[in-house]
Every structure is written in structure tokens, then in C-alpha cells.
């Protein structure tokens, strides 16, 4: 593709990227809106929403719940998923195909079905819905994504390094914690970040299993009919900026690491 074609493709892509950014910019801009009750019409610029985020108490409580859920679910899913990923790459076992299918299915199931299924089970078992049931649900759908992410890392690991550890009389435990784990760590961190993001932004499954407990997305859904306070935009924007910074730091560190390895 040359000349006109390449130029057209560049223009098309810039338009597409702008299109992607429109509602993001809109959300951030409206976090600075001097809105009183409903944050729909622009009334002027202010920092007040940022300085007094917890003025809208419900938003802060919902945000706190979301953080708790995301942290616990991420921890559980990362541990369980990493163990499965190591087993899948390193060991032959019976029911391997069944295991892979069991890991793939949650990713191929629409969230409504996952949410309704779990809710039906909690209903049948008479479990009271709340923070715990949300955490159970989030851990469930995060595991598969952790496995997929970490498995790629385990597969690219050079077994000779662990071999060397064993040759130097390292116990299995030492070999794992001193060699395998540090080498897997970038993959595990990536998986944990993905889990956190998935859990933090999940609404559909949460809605079926939360009972009266509020999470940040559920708060927005419930408040959508009567208008979202600008403080919700503040929290979403702050999370956005933080995530972008993390992504850039990770990118830069990875680039530096590759450079260092290439120099050796």
C-alpha cells in the first residue's frame, strides 16, 4: 500500500482513535463541571468536585466496596489461576482436554448467564447476597483470564534455568521461589492487573449477585435514571489517570529490560 492508500489509512486511523477518545474526554471534562444536582449541562469550570470527592457519600462508599472486591478477587484469582497455568504447561495429566474446556467456557459465556446462574445457585442454597457473593463471582470469571495470561509466560520459560538450579542442589522449593517465580512475575503481575481491571469495572455479574451492596459500576447504573453526580466522574477520571500512568511505567520498564537483556 503506497501513496494515497497509506495516507487514507492514516486519516482513517486518526479518526477512529479520536472516536474512541470522545466519551473518555467527555467524562473527564465533566468531572470539572460546576454541577449542583445533575451533571448534564455544562455550568462552568471548578475544582470543587475533585477537592471534595466524598461530599457525595454514596459514591465513596461504592468506590470503597469496589476496591475491596477487586483486591480480594484479584488475589484469589491470581493464586488459583497461576497454579493452574503452571500445571497446564508443565504436567501431563488425564482430563486435560476437559480442564481446558472448563477454563475456556467461562470466557465464552455471556455475563448475564454467569450472573444469573450464580444467583440461581445462591438462591437455591439460601445464601445472603453481599460483598462475599460479589467476591466469589468476580474470582470465578477472573481465573480463566489469569490462566491465559500466565500460561503464555510459563510456556516461554527456558527449563534449562530451573535445571541449573536443581543441578546446584537447590530443593524444589528453592528452585521455585528463587528461579521460577521471579521469571514468571511479569506475567503474574500482568494477570493481576487484568483481573483488577475486569473486577473493578464489572457490572452485569455484580448486579445479579450484589443484593443491596453497592459497587461503583452498580452505583452508576442505579443513579443513571436520576443523574450521576460529578463526583462519580472525578473517581472514574482519577482511576483512569492512575491506570494510564501504570501502563506507561510498565511499558517503559519492559522496554528498558529488553534493552538491558539485548546488551548482554
Amino acid at each position: 500500500m503506497r501513496g494515497f492508500g497509506r495516507y487514507a489509512l492514516a486519516v482513517y486511523s486518526v479518526i477512529a482513535l479520536t472516536f474512541i477518545m470522545i466519551p473518555i474526554v467527555y467524562t473527564i471534562v465533566f468531572s470539572f463541571n460546576d454541577a449542583r444536582r445533575t451533571n448534564i449541562i455544562w455550568r462552568g469550570f471548578t475544582f470543587d468536585n475533585w477537592l471534595q470527592v466524598c461530599r457525595a457519600q454514596d459514591v465513596c462508599i461504592a468506590f470503597g466496596n469496589s476496591i475491596i472486591v477487586a483486591l480480594v478477587a484479584t488475589l484469589l484469582a491470581t493464586v488459583l489461576g497461576t497454579m493452574i497455568a503452571i500445571a497446564l504447561v508443565r504436567y501431563r495429566f488425564r482430563f486435560r482436554a476437559a480442564t481446558t474446556l472448563l477454563l475456556f467456557l467461562p470466557m465464552a459465556t455471556p455475563e448475564v448467564v454467569l450472573g444469573a446462574g450464580l444467583a440461581a445457585q445462591f438462591l437455591a442454597a439460601g445464601v445472603q447476597k453481599g460483598l462475599v457473593t460479589i467476591i466469589i463471582a468476580h474470582t470465578m470469571f477472573c481465573i480463566s483470564f489469569v490462566v491465559v495470561t500466565v500460561r503464555a509466560r510459563v510456556a516461554s520459560l527456558d527449563p534449562a534455568l530451573e535445571e541449573a538450579g536443581r543441578d546446584l542442589y537447590g530443593s524444589p522449593r528453592q528452585v521455585f521461589w528463587r528461579i521460577t517465580f521471579p521469571l514468571l512475575l511479569p506475567g503474574i503481575i500482568a494477570a493481576a492487573m487484568l483481573s483488577f481491571a475486569l473486577s473493578f469495572d464489572d457490572f452485569i455479574i455484580t448486579n445479579f449477585n450484589a443484593g443491596s451492596t453497592m459497587t461503583f459500576p452498580k452505583y452508576i447504573y442505579t443513579a443513571a435514571a436520576r443523574g450521576i453526580p460529578a463526583e462519580a466522574n472525578v473517581i472514574a477520571s482519577a482511576v483512569f489517570f492512575l491506570a494510564i500512568v501504570i501502563v506507561i511505567v510498565v511499558q517503559v520498564t519492559n522496554a528498558a529490560r529488553r534493552k538491558r537483556l539485548a546488551l548482554r
Partner: protein, 308 residues
């Protein structure tokens, strides 16, 4: 194990290949059991629970929301009769949104993955822009579109001024708005896998096409597109599956209206508000079964079965 240790000392190259199967299966069991048990308990059992619920019958003289286990397959007939428009709408909207997201996502992925190769920094920046939506609440993004397209918003105002829209016309609440929202929501899910397969595309194949006097279009159709097919397949699945079950965009409080309700909306209403659990469960099962059949046929047809 002893033999494994011996062979690893004698010929490390061979040993690394054989190492896996020779290790103790007890370790494998220890690694697998907790996670698999978790998925069995909180994914498989709920699916079975959902299936059982879908056949339940209302309890005699019971309150709303009280049901007993039964085998009322009529539940399925009833939901299909009642909600056929919603079922068709779900798959229709999802299919259109998938095609639109592909039309937007493929060229974008090609540009970032191929044309921007020589500029790693710009490429990295463009990728961050593609994944940026993941970092900000999708509900707020959808609400942002709702306000942009609202009757008193800028777009309707402009179209009214150009007399392209009458005073009684709306954008929000129409099927077009819902499809628009779905398309927007899944562009990153479509773009990223296609980018991943195009980023690794060996450009010498494309050059070879040109050297053999193929037109750019023929080269694209016979070389580039087949090589990027795994990305296209994952992208379309990552879009179509969640889009058909989505109920945010079609919701009355977001981009839709009661005339745009999809399966997800009906499941939500029946489960959480009407407490008609069997109907919600039957609809969920229909949704899941249809998706599995469609996806199975699609994956077989596109010839990329090693997706998992």
C-alpha cells in the same frame, strides 16, 4: 522419577522435552485441584442450577418468586413465544455491531501493527489510546454518548439546524443508538487481537504478492487476510458473545428504550424484579445454547480450532 533425574543429567536437551510427563502427578493435582474445584463449584454447578431452575413450576398457593423443582419444558415454549422479538433483536444487534466494529477495528489494527512499525513510540502511544477505554467505567462512557446524543445535546441540535431531523425525532432510544453503543464498546476487543496477529505479519509475504503481479487487493485477500484470520476470529468472538448478552446499551436509562430491549434486559427484569426465575433461567439457557452453536459453527468454518 529416578530415571528422569538420570536422563536429565545425561542429556539435558532431551530431558527438557520429556521432563513434563515424568514428574509426579501428585504435584499436578495439588496445583490444579483448588482452581478447578472453584470453577466446578461456582461455574459448572451454577450452570446446572440454571438448567434445573429453567424447568421449575410455580409453587401451588405460593407467593411470587416461590418455585418447585419440576420438569416444565413448557417454560421454554412460553419464553420463546413471549420474547422471540428480544431474542432475534439480541443476535441481530450483536451481529451488526460485530461487523461495524470489524470495519472500524481492522484498518486501525493494520495501521498500528504494520504502518507504525517504524515508529515504536507512536505505535506504543496508539496502542495505549486503543486500550484507554478499559480504564474508565464503561457505564460512564455509555452515559457520555447518551448525553452527546440527547435531545437537548449538540448532535441533535446540529441536525435540527440542518433540518436533517425533525423536532419530534430522537437519536437515543432507537435501535441505531443501541447498535452504535455496542459497536463503540467493543472496538478495543476487536482491534487488539487483530493487531496482535498483524504485528507479527512477515511483510516479505506481502512483497512477494506484489512481485508476482498481484494487485494490492488480491494480495490483501490471499495473503494478509488469511494470515490475520486468528485475530479476526478472536476479535469477532470477543465482540459478538458479550454484545449479544449485553443489557446496558439497550437499557432505557442508557441508549435504548422499551422497543430496543434485548435478552439481557429481559433476563434482568425477570430475575431481579419480577422474580420469575424459571423464565430468566430458560432465556439464559437459550442464549448460551445459541451462542455455543453459532460459535462452534463459526470456528469450524474459519478453520482456526486451536483457539483455546
Amino acid at each position: 522419577m529416578a530415571f528422569g533425574a538420570f536422563s536429565s543429567g545425561a542429556a539435558p536437551g532431551v530431558a527438557t522435552v520429556q521432563e513434563g510427563p515424568r514428574r509426579k502427578s501428585r504435584v499436578a493435582l495439588f496445583l490444579l485441584l483448588p482452581g478447578i474445584a472453584y470453577l466446578a463449584l461456582f461455574f459448572l454447578v451454577p450452570l446446572i442450577s440454571l438448567l434445573l431452575t429453567s424447568f421449575m413450576a410455580p409453587r401451588e398457593f405460593g407467593d411470587i418468586g416461590q418455585f418447585d423443582y419440576a420438569f416444565r419444558w413448557e417454560n421454554y415454549v412460553k419464553v420463546v413465544e413471549t420474547y422471540l422479538p428480544h431474542i432475534l433483536r439480541s443476535f441481530g444487534y450483536a451481529a451488526i455491531a460485530t461487523v461495524l466494529a470489524l470495519i472500524i477495528g481492522y484498518p486501525l489494527a493494520y495501521f498500528i501493527g504494520v504502518n507504525l512499525r517504524r515508529f515504536p513510540l507512536v505505535q506504543a502511544l496508539a496502542l495505549v489510546l486503543v486500550i484507554a477505554p478499559f480504564f474508565i467505567s464503561f457505564l460512564l462512557r455509555t452515559l457520555a454518548w447518551k448525553q452527546i446524543f440527547a435531545d437537548e445535546g449538540p448532535v441533535v441540535g446540529a441536525l435540527n439546524a440542518l433540518s436533517l431531523m425533525g423536532p419530534g425525532d430522537h437519536i437515543t432510544g432507537t435501535p441505531a443508538a443501541v447498535v452504535f453503543g455496542l459497536t463503540y464498546m467493543f472496538i478495543p476487543f476487536m482491534t487488539l487481537p487483530i493487531y496482535t496477529s498483524l504485528e507479527r505479519l512477515d511483510l516479505r509475504y506481502v512483497e512477494a504478492g506484489g512481485d508476482l503481479y498481484a494487485s494490492p487487493w488480491t494480495t490483501f485477500r490471499t495473503v494478509t487476510l488469511p494470515l490475520s484470520m486468528p485475530g479476526v476470529v478472536s476479535g469477532t468472538l470477543l465482540t459478538f458473545i458479550p454484545a449479544s448478552g449485553d443489557y446496558i446499551n439497550a437499557s432505557r436509562d442508557f441508549l435504548g428504550s422499551t422497543e430496543t430491549a434485548m435478552i439481557g434486559n429481559v433476563v434482568e427484569t425477570n430475575f431481579l424484579i419480577l422474580q420469575n426465575y424459571p423464565a430468566a433461567a430458560a432465556l439464559s439457557i437459550i442464549l448460551m445454547a445459541t451462542i455455543l452453536i453459532l460459535v462452534g459453527a463459526y470456528v469450524r468454518k474459519s478453520g482456526t480450532e486451536d483457539l483455546v
